[in-house]
């Protein structure tokens, strides 16, 4: 965290997020209010994440945001992975918003993550059948895009 705050000494969103997570005693039994509060911190940290160009600070914010994502979804794996899909897709959209070549690569990478996490959200659902069904569906989607 000091890496980030060395660069941005007045920005306490990152430490606020971490400090709130430290106050939660049981991540397996979060109240709705706690989930909402964690999500609020998570969103704030992601704003930092998006706005940061320094690589080390970016990584630090990323780590904090994922810590919050884990916490928010810890009671339900499917929700966790769906949350990841959301974040990956969001980052992808953010990258896509900028049209530089490197951003296109970034967008593709995160979009891939989004797809992987989306698939994992099904994997986290009960039963191998659901996982296999989703994998088959994802392959159908792959064939669909390769044929365009």
């Amino acid at each position: 965290m000091y890496i980030f705050e060395k660069e941005y000494p007045k920005d306490k969103r990152f430490s606020d997020c971490i400090n709130y997570l430290k106050t939660v005693n049981d991540f397996n039994n979060l109240t709705n209010a706690q989930v909402l509060e964690i999500k609020r911190h998570e969103s704030a940290v992601y704003v930092v994440h998006y706005a940061t160009t320094d690589a080390a600070a970016y990584a630090a914010a990323y780590a904090a945001a994922y810590a919050a994502a884990y916490a928010a979804g810890s009671a339900n794996a499917a929700t966790t992975y769906a949350t990841y899909a959301y974040h990956s897709a969001t980052i992808s959209a953010r990258c896509a918003y900028h049209s530089a070549t490197i951003s296109a690569r970034c967008a593709a990478n995160y979009a891939t993550l989004a797809a992987a996490h989306a698939a994992l959200s099904i994997c986290a659902s009960p039963g191998d059948a659901a996982q296999q069904k989703q994998e088959a569906l994802n392959l159908q989607f792959l064939k669909q895009v390769t044929s365009l």
């Binding site: 897709a89 967008a107 979009a111 994802n138």
Partner: protein, 99 residues
């Protein structure tokens, strides 16, 4: 683009995955669509290869389709939170500009 053992080797796959490919498909030489039909290649390996040969637009299109197919899981839990759907919609609108 043709998928064959020489091309796959150039992607630097894990040794065990490449050996699996050679064991079952050493003589294969086909398109990515043909590759996706191979029964002896795992889902993970197909995806691994696909994201390395598709264009950025294709990968984004694919991820959007996958994410759309499971977004209901998120929205069943958070029915008032449309941020994921909105994000997917946004991705769809910008995808044409990120080639």
């Amino acid at each position: 683009m043709q998928i064959n053992k020489e091309f796959l080797k150039s992607l630097n796959p894990c040794a065990d995955r490449y050996e699996n490919y050679l064991e079952h498909n050493a003589s294969f030489d086909g398109s990515i669509s043909d590759f996706l039909e191979l029964d002896t290649i795992s889902y993970e390996d197909k995806v691994w290869v696909a994201v390395r040969v598709l264009t950025s637009n294709q990968v984004v299109n694919w991820s959007v389709l996958c994410a759309e197919s499971v977004v209901h899981i998120f929205e069943d839990k958070h029915p008032d939170d449309k941020i994921l759907s909105n994000c997917i919609d946004f991705l769809k609108t910008v995808n044409d500009s990120i080639t």
